[in-house]
Structure formats: C-alpha cells, structure tokens
C-alpha cells in the first residue's frame, strides 16, 4: 500500500521558534505533494509541489520537494500560537487522483 509518512508526529515549541516538518512518500507514479493545515475543522490548503528544488513561500511558511529522495519539508519561521494545528501532507498520483494522506504532525506553539 502506498504510504505517506510524516515526522515528527507531534511537536511543542515556543513562540518565535522555527520548525521543520517532514513528509516522505513511497509511490513512484507521483504527480504532486500537498500540504494542509487542519485546526478544528476541515483541512485548509497551504501548498502544492510538483517540481523538485523549487521553494514555495507564503508569509512565514515555506515548502520544498525532493522528488529524487521522495520527501518534502514544511518550514514555519517565527512561529505564533495561531500556527498550532495538525499539518497534513498528501500525495496524488499521475492523474491527480488517489490522494493518500499522512498521519499529520500536531504542532503546539506555546506563548
């Protein structure tokens, strides 16, 4: 079964810290890697990555994909309490279907 693995599974930091969340996947018929943030309700989209080595940025968040080593990282700099959430990583297959999600990383940012 195709797997998406995330690490760490949980992380507690203080405001202002920088965190790096990891995601690795096993499938080779890969199309895109997606990152989501889930607070109390539905996941909200953060990034979609399809090409290796190209960093995507949105404010304090950034992400990059390594298609050779089959992993992606999500960086959050100068964390704030509002960043506390579960961060989910998912990959889609060649046709943009069959999304497989990882277990998520639960990030807690303390004041």
């Amino acid at each position: 079964e195709d797997k998406v693995v995330q690490s760490p599974l949980s992380l507690v930091v203080h405001e202002g810290d920088t965190v790096t969340l990891n995601c690795s996947y096993e499938v080779t018929n890969f199309r895109s890697l997606l990152w989501y943030k889930q607070e109390k309700k539905a996941p909200t989209f953060l990034f979609m990555l399809t090409s290796s080595g190209i960093e995507k940025k949105s404010g304090r968040l950034s992400s990059i994909l390594d298609k050779k080593e089959l992993f992606s990282i999500l960086n959050i700099t100068a964390t704030q309490t509002g960043d506390s959430a579960v961060y989910l990583c998912a990959r889609s297959d060649n046709y943009g279907q069959n999304f497989v999600f990882g277990p998520g990383t639960r990030l807690s940012v303390l004041p």
């Binding site: 199309r31 046709y95 943009g96």
Partner: protein, 115 residues
C-alpha cells in the same frame, strides 16, 4: 459563497439505521471525494467520483455507497450503521486533468456519532 458544503454538520443515530450525508460544490470541479477521519485524526480516502463515474473505491464496506446525481453533488449513503462508523466525514472536490493543478477543497465535515 461556500465552495464545498455538506449537510448535516452533526448526525447522531442508532446502530442499524440508514443515513445519508449530502455534499455540494459550486466550483465547477470535475472530481469529488469522500474522506473519513477517525478519532486518531487519520484522514483516509473512501471514494472519488469523476463525471458520474466511480474511479476510486478504497476497501470500504459495501454498506457505504456514493451517489452522484450530477457533477456538483456527491452524496454518501450508509446502511446498517455500526459503532465503528462514528467519525468525521469530509467531502472534497478538485479539478482533474494532467495539465491542471489538483488542489482539493474540503467541506466543513459531518460528525457522525453512532450510538
């Protein structure tokens, strides 16, 4: 405007009952999905529908059946509900295609509790 909507938001029912959850998207997307998120927060795809055709059917019990009356709707019917069906069910949609970025948009979720 709500992009992906689900009804009801909460559903509490007895074991053995049959229930439906509705989903609608107004994004003009080709593909819609149903996900189950269990108590451990693990999100797992159940079904996806493209142009009224089931294209992925993970190993879910046949008590669960997706029904799509048109491209904008994908309803989930569950027969003979069991305790283990208690979870949050998310509907999502995306635009399919090799040249189209396939970001998924999620509905707000339906929390199903089976007593």
């Amino acid at each position: 405007d709500t992009a992906v909507s689900q009804t009801p938001k909460y559903l509490v029912t007895q074991m053995g009952n049959d229930k439906s959850i509705k989903c609608e998207q107004n994004l003009g997307h080709d593909t819609m999905y149903w996900y189950k998120q269990d108590s451990k927060k693990f999100l797992k795809i159940m079904f996806s529908y493209n142009n009224k055709e089931l294209i992925i059917n993970e190993t879910v019990p046949n008590r669960f059946s997706p029904k799509s009356p048109d491209k904008a709707h994908l309803n989930l019917h569950i027969n003979s509900l069991e305790l283990g069906d208690s979870a949050v069910y998310f509907c999502a949609s995306s635009q399919e295609g090799p040249l189209v970025y396939n970001e998924q948009f999620f509905g707000p979720g339906t929390r199903l509790t089976v007593l």
